[in-house]
């Protein structure tokens, strides 16, 4: 991730920023911004702003990334709409990472399994290191 994006995420979403994200591919920063923005929408504009979930990113040894979430607010605070929005948001983000080129962000990437680590790349960037 470039330094401009690092500065953006650290200032806009300090609650979910983790230094590990500095290794996050440049082509996925729009996905990440959409993901955090969608998580933030769990907050109502008219009530006190809270951190509804913790977010944890895992990159497997062979390459792929996954986002994990854990609920942070009381059980009774979750409406059906909230939980549906949350699960969809994470699923869409995880799915997006598996179809978006890590280099340019075009949504027609697919896995390049070798050499390790695996990468999601479009046709144009298929042979990039």
């Amino acid at each position: 991730m470039n330094q401009e994006s690092v500065a953006f995420f650290r200032s806009e979403y300090p609650q979910w920023w983790h230094p590990k994200l500095e290794e996050f591919p440049d082509g996925w920063t729009d996905l990440l911004a959409e993901f955090f923005h969608a998580l933030d929408r769990l907050n109502s504009p008219v009530s006190q702003q809270r951190v509804w979930v913790s977010v944890y990113f895992e990159q497997s040894e062979i390459g792929p990334w996954k986002a994990y979430i854990a609920p942070e607010v009381r059980m009774k605070d979750w409406t059906d709409g909230d939980v549906l929005h949350l699960i969809r948001t994470v699923e869409v983000f995880n799915g997006g990472m598996s179809h978006t080129c890590e280099i340019c962000g075009v949504f027609n990437g697919w896995p390049r399994l070798q050499p390790k680590p695996e990468r999601i790349l479009c046709e144009e960037h298929r042979h990039a290191y």
């Binding site: 895992e58 854990a70 059906d80 699960i87 969809r88 699923e91």
Partner: protein, 145 residues
């Protein structure tokens, strides 16, 4: 207590052998860092998640991946939903979130050594991490100090 002190004999522990067999899609290496007193809570969490959307036995993956992190005095269960959850109902999503939340709260109230109800958190004066303990293990720890 050092985090590594929870390391157990993975090959011979009966819980772990069963979890590897019954819940290979939910089980993870994170188990090494969780105290055995919370194993029944982990077992219940596996059962609850599996009941939401039972895994197709012909596939390795389930609807979600699970990770549990240990913190001094509690644990937090996180999930990573896969594409199969795009057809989940609000009730299924609610069941998942409630199961994760309940697990986290229950670890704060369950002895991390034996699984009995906890009476409090023992904070050490040295480098050791605090522990959630029942009366018996609280007394035992204090006696040995």
């Amino acid at each position: 207590m050092n985090k590594n002190d929870f390391r157990i004999d993975v090959k011979n522990d009966p819980h772990i052998a069963r979890w590897q067999r019954e819940y290979p899609h939910l089980f993870g290496d994170w188990i090494r860092f969780l105290p055995p007193g919370w194993y029944d809570l982990i077992d219940r969490l596996f059962v609850e998640i599996e009941a939401i959307d039972p895994r197709d036995p012909s596939r390795f993956c389930g609807s979600v991946s699970l990770s549990i992190k240990w913190y001094p005095g509690s644990a937090e269960a996180s999930v990573s939903p896969h594409s199969m959850t795009d057809s989940w109902s609000p009730e299924q999503c609610q069941a998942l979130i409630q199961a994760l939340r309940r697990f986290a709260m229950d670890t704060e109230q369950t002895c991390q050594v034996c699984g009995n109800p906890a009476v409090g958190v023992l904070k050490y004066q040295d480098h050791r991490y605090q522990e959630v303990l029942c009366q018996h293990h609280m007394d035992e720890r204090r006696m040995s100090e």
